[in-house]
């Protein structure tokens, strides 16, 4: 029974990590290519979730909702890039922080304006609503496994996109020398819009998929955004590989910490106290992990070149 529980928690951690990866990949790509810190990435996550919930409620199909979430987040990302972000590339990070903070206010209040203050709910699609048996006798939600699958597919897809395609070549070239690729005739402005929209679409996808296991509400994006920051700081800003490993590390540490710490402490102290102290420490665990990583490697586990 205990092993089954541990496997289940490990899978939960993996699913959480994969979802963080979708957020972190976009953030780290945008930072790597454009040198921009984007606080509004959490808003794009929220846009994806709301688009999926609204379209799914309207058409009755989760799958159409999923497509809508990708399209809405990518479109929102592209528009934001064209109108605002584009003016920020040459500014210092302080201006970027402030402008994207303002964007959060606009997105959050705008979404509340359109959808109201009540959370929306999104059902898990029928195709994925079952459970699968786990070794050890318990069962696991198929939908969460599917999220892990999508995350792995996205990771592989991103890897192929960046290492094998012409667009990926331009992205890599843009990371190392943006003046040079401009001089060689690459349309840098369009490339930036594309990268930003790609990152936004990934955030939107994460929002839509998580929307089916949590509620869809205003402000859902920022806690995830901050965790994604922790992920890319651990992984090394600008590195997709770092984002993947950092995300899984954070996801598993957080989930297992919340599960194991109170139980371990219960060996030494009364249960109520163990639950309280264990819970409090578990909520800080990933930040402690980040502190340790930074103390050893200030530029993260996989610092990007350049």
């Amino acid at each position: 029974m205990q092993t089954a529980l541990i496997i289940e928690q490990l899978l939960n951690g993996l699913q959480f990590g994969v979802m963080l990866f979708l957020m972190a990949a976009g953030l780290t790509l945008i930072f790597g290519v454009m040198g921009l810190i984007n606080l509004a990435h959490g808003s794009l996550y929220m846009v994806g979730a709301f688009a999926c919930a609204a379209v799914a409620a309207w058409t009755g199909s989760f799958w159409l909702g999923l497509i809508a979430s990708l399209a809405a987040a990518a479109a929102a990302g592209a528009i934001v890039e064209l109108v605002v972000i584009r003016r920020l590339y040459d500014r210092d990070h302080l201006d970027q922080v402030l402008a994207t903070f303002a964007l959060i206010l606009i997105f959050s209040e705008g979404t509340r304006w359109v959808f109201g203050s009540f959370p929306l709910y999104l059902d898990i699609p029928a195709l994925l609503s079952g459970t699968v048996p786990l070794p050890g006798g318990s069962r696991y939600q198929l939908y969460r496994l599917a999220i892990i699958g999508v995350g792995v597919a996205v990771a592989v897809g991103l890897f192929l996109l960046i290492s094998k395609t012409r667009l990926g070549m331009r992205i890599r070239a843009g990371e190392s020398d943006r003046e040079m690729i401009g001089a060689l005739g690459v349309d840098v402005a369009t490339l930036y819009t594309l990268v930003f929209a790609l990152g936004a679409a990934l955030a939107g996808l994460a929002g839509a998929m998580v929307g089916a296991i949590q509620s869809v509400q205003v402000g859902m994006g920022e806690p995830v955004l901050i965790l994604a920051f922790v992920v890319i700081v651990i992984g090394g800003i600008g590195s997709i590989r770092g984002a993947l490993i950092g995300a899984i590390l954070v996801g598993v540490t957080d989930t297992m910490g919340r599960f194991l710490l109170p139980q371990t402490l219960m060996l030494f102290m009364p249960p109520s106290q163990a639950a309280m102290i264990g819970g409090a420490i578990a909520s800080m665990l990933i930040y402690l992990l980040m502190a340790v990583v930074l103390a050893l490697k200030p530029r993260g586990l996989f610092p990007a070149q350049g």
Binding site: F31, I37, V84, R87, H93, L94, D95, V97, L98, A99, F101, A102, L103, I104, L105, I106, S108, E109, G110, R112, W113, E222, I226, F229, V230, I232, V233, I237, M276, G279, A280, A282, S283, M284, Y287, L288, M290, A291, L294, A295, P298, R299
Partner: protein, 324 residues
Amino acid sequence: MASRETLLNIGLALLLLVLPVIANYSGEPFYVTLATRIAILSLAAVGLNLALGLGGLVSFGHAAFFGIGGYAAGILATHAFSGDPLIFGLPGTKQMLIIWIVAIAAGGLAALLIGLITLRTSGVYFIMITLAFAQMIFYFAISWPAYGGEDGLPIYVRNAFPGVNTLKPLSYFLVCYALLAVGLVLFKLFQDSRFGAALQAARQNEVRVASVGIPPYRIRLVAFVISGMFTAVAGALFADLNRFVSPSMLSWQMSGELIVLIILGGVGRLFGPVAGAALFVLLEHWLGGITERWQFFLGLILLGVVLFARGGLIGLIAGRARHG
């Protein structure tokens, strides 16, 4: 040399003093509370301005110190109220002077621990890591049930200051205003000191500072700790103003707001935080009166300031920053 900025600063200081007094005697205590809010947020932002304006350290985690100051006030007052000893048999207290000292010590200690790690990094890393550490303390406050957890902690009666009836809005405002004045004087002394010069030089050219034998890391760490102390004392005042402390004082929105105050007023300027806090609180009040959706319009205004009005309010009125 009474430059335009100096005149503006004097005007701001006088306005912030005179208007609440007038409001108080014309029976509008609400505006006194609004002014108290401005003074307290100004003081918190003066602290951040030390790190951010002078040192170039974009801390997105100053809510941590603000909240720690607030919890210092809340926890001490709770123990004084219940009579339970705090630690080592020490009792709680309702005396603001002691509370402030505890808040300063706690804020400074937290800033030291956070600074030791975060200052090893710079740029975007620094922004994200300060944010992450503040978030860590936020989640700790939420999940630790002893002092209210998610629900926060009420302060039943506002804490006491010798010789002042702090329950009267105007008296409490004057306490906060006096503390803000002390904060501004200290900021100015700090800015003009040899240490301040080294801190600003480290922002402008780190390598050159290091090459003349001044260690930038240590200078920044000291500045960061002092900055955290200022913000913590403001947090204690804020808790007493609202007679309530909650994890929202530790939230990332609070950190963002403190940065916003500085940018609105003008980065690295003595009265930047005051101008910014006044503008922010009045804007919040005014927009909140017009529409429920005030945050939307606040966002638009902020965006406009960042994109088109660099240098903030003081920069707009007093001209270009002397600030590289």
